[in-house]
């Protein structure tokens, strides 16, 4: 009984950590540019797929991962530079459609290069599962949690201790004011997309051995990240992490105790319930609309 619960908890926290990283990527871009980036899931796909194909070519795994993350980072910058920046006057919906177009485009490219098959990625360390109180923990889960935690701590330090991080924060708070004090806001926006892409692709790499990977894996993962970000409150970093973990755990419990067919329905019902009682998510800031 307890072992079962623990098992679902492990599964939930692992996938929840991935959602949290995706949600953080969403939050970063949203804060810097008020764009909801529907191509966020594609960064994960690029991370996983590029690593798999590079290792298959004989590149050592660590190098393959670094190259894959770099590739995603370049893609993030290109996305900002050539798709988002030229359309800055556009409506919210128009920007959403642009990022959807971008995600279809990236997915198309991936399909062209890597085909439509599912790819399996090796665990980073041993395949031997770890047993705790009768529950089984995939060793890769520890990698997901560990790297997730390092990234979150790294982000916090980045935003509170470095000048570049503070420049991003300043731009997200007030773009005009940031420009007046000498921050090059266009550069900052590009940087936000870069960091977001790096976050996404790292999440994609660490979770790939658990979920497998294919050219279209980004759609659902990206949406779950969006759900997590909205549950936490769009724009809130803590919200993204809490929302991601909460979503992962609730989903795993629903799959275990209710029905795995309906686990996604439970995730999407959760967002409705949260928004019903807290229209700005758990940690969302209250915004006053000016007429």
């Amino acid at each position: 009984m307890f072992a079962e619960f623990l098992q679902y908890l492990f599964t939930g926290i692992t996938i929840g950590a991935t959602y949290a990283l995706i949600a953080l990527g969403f939050t970063l871009i949203y804060n810097a540019s008020h764009v909801i980036n529907f191509a966020q899931g594609e960064f994960l796909m690029i991370g996983g797929m590029a690593t798999v194909s590079l290792t298959a070519m004989g590149v050592p795994m660590v190098l393959a991962i670094i190259l894959a993350v770099l590739l995603a980072g370049v893609l993030g910058i290109l996305l900002q530079r050539f798709a988002i920046a030229p359309a800055k006057q556009a409506d919210v919906v128009t920007l959403i459609i642009i990022t959807i177009g971008a995600s279809i485009f990236i997915r198309g490219l991936a399909q062209l290069v890597w085909g439509k098959e599912y790819h399996v990625m090796q665990n980073f360390s041993s395949d031997e599962p770890i047993r705790i109180f009768g529950a089984v923990l995939n060793s890769q889960s520890l990698w997901v949690l560990g790297i997730g935690a390092i990234l979150v701590v790294g982000l916090v330090l980045f935003f509170t201790r470095t000048l570049i991080g503070k420049a991003i924060l300043a731009t997200s708070m007030n773009k005009e004011a940031a420009r007046l004090v000498g921050i090059r806001t266009q550069l900052v926006l590009m940087l936000a997309f870069l960091v977001s892409a790096v976050l996404g692709s790292v999440a994609g790499v660490v979770v790939a051995p658990i979920t497998f990977t294919s050219y279209d894996i980004g759609i659902m993962l990206g949406l779950k990240g969006f759900v997590a970000a909205a549950i936490g409150g769009l724009g809130s970093g803590i919200g993204a992490v809490v929302g991601g973990l909460l979503l992962g755990v609730v989903e795993a419990m629903a799959a275990g105790y209710i029905s795995s067919d309906y686990k996604d329905a439970v995730a999407f019902s959760m967002i409705l319930v949260v928004l019903f009682f807290m229209p700005r998510g758990l940690f969302g800031a209250k915004v006053v609309e000016r007429v």
Binding site: Y30, I36, A83, P86, A87, Q89, A90, D91, V92, V93, T94, I96, I97, I98, I100, G101, A102, S103, I104, F105, I106, R107, G108, L109, Q111, L112, I219, L223, F226, V227, A230, L234, S259, D261, Y262, D264, A265, F268, S269, I271, L272, L275, F276, P279, R280, G281, E289, V291
Partner: protein
């Protein structure tokens, strides 16, 4: 002023009617008729969605959910319970309207991205239910739907008909039927837009706070138009099910929802003729791109992105603006 407005409405409707009824001159096989019929049904759905997106400024990323509910209600009632098509369509639309009203009230309090999130969630939940209730819906394999029937008269893509002495095959008959449906859908939408309700909606789009200050019950109007657009989707879903003869949960899926909203934005939010153009372009594009085989997805994404970057107002409004500018220039040159 009012007169001019009426004339413009009538002009759009007449242009649309001329195009719709002249089109058969260029369609020479059933495949094109079927494609045109699909376009007309989808276009009518999008005209309804545009009321919500283009006039009330609210984003729905889950409208295929309502479309799918209508399709499945019709499918289940006509094939399992022997209902006739029209009652199934009407009752389905009423039920979907009630569902939209119930979920709409709390959802429409939300702003911007939270609203898109919530509608996306509703769409997903509907699609998941259709996927999993195998006993009722046939699950992921889908279910067959009988032909459209009114008073024992049957409209099937495989039948043959006689209209005022003209011999029509099933595809042609369906096309004419869908064309009339689209015209009615546009006419109803235009009437709604020009009614006091439409004016209230536009004020919500402009500034919701300002609208509230001058006494517009914004919540009521927003949920009203949400319900109307859901009813459009449901009714068209019912017709789509009859026309296709077979439905799968994909009709309620996220891809379909995205397709609908993309048609609205690409064609031109707030322009009824624009969103119809959007529907035509996005239905036609995959047909054209199919020749490029594996490049299809890449090109589709690229075209979507580029169009939205360079024509953020949408196709038709951008074209109209360009033509208007040129005409003004010409007029200025003569004066």
């Amino acid at each position: 002023m009012l007169n001019r407005f009426m004339q413009m409405r009538l002009r759009d409707l007449v242009i649309l009617a001329v195009i719709l009824f002249a089109l058969p001159l260029f369609l020479n096989n059933p495949f094109y008729y079927d494609l045109a019929t699909q376009m007309a049904i989808i276009a009518a759905t999008v005209v309804g969605l545009n009321l919500l997106v283009g006039f009330a400024g609210q984003i729905s990323l889950g409208h295929a959910g309502f479309f799918g509910l209508g399709a499945y209600f019709t499918g289940i009632m006509t094939s399992n319970y022997g209902w006739s098509s029209v009652p199934a369509l009407v009752v389905g639309a009423i039920l979907v309207g009630i569902i939209a009203w119930i979920v709409g009230r709390p959802i429409l309090r939300l702003k911007g991205h939270y609203l898109s999130m919530a509608t996306l969630a509703v769409g997903f939940i509907i699609a998941i239910i259709l996927n999993n209730e195998r006993a009722l819906t046939g699950g992921p394999d889908g279910m067959p739907v009988p032909a459209f029937t009114v008073f024992g008269w049957e409209l099937s893509p495989f039948g043959s008909y006689n209209l005022l002495g003209m011999e029509l095959n099933g595809s042609e008959a369906w096309y004419l039927f869908a064309a009339v449906v689209l015209l009615v859908a546009v006419w109803l939408a235009q009437n709604l837009i020009d009614s006091p309700i439409g004016r209230a909606l536009r004020s919500v789009h402009g500034s919701e706070v300002a609208a509230r200050v001058v006494g517009v019950d914004t919540a009521r109007y927003k949920s009203l138009v949400f319900v109307v657009s859901a009813i459009y989707a449901s009714a068209m879903g019912s017709l789509y099910a009859h026309f296709q003869g077979f439905i799968t949960p994909a009709v309620a899926g996220f891809d379909f929802s995205i397709l609908f909203i993309t048609m609205v934005v690409l064609g031109g939010m707030g322009s009824t003729m624009g969103v119809i153009l959007g529907a035509v372009v996005l239905k036609l594009l995959p047909q054209v791109l199919a020749d490029f085989q594996e490049l299809e997805t890449v090109m589709f994404g690229a075209i979507l992105m580029l169009t939205m970057i360079f024509m953020p107002k949408g196709l038709l409004p951008t074209i109209q603006m360009a033509v208007g500018k040129r005409m003004k220039k010409k007029a200025g040159g003569q004066a």
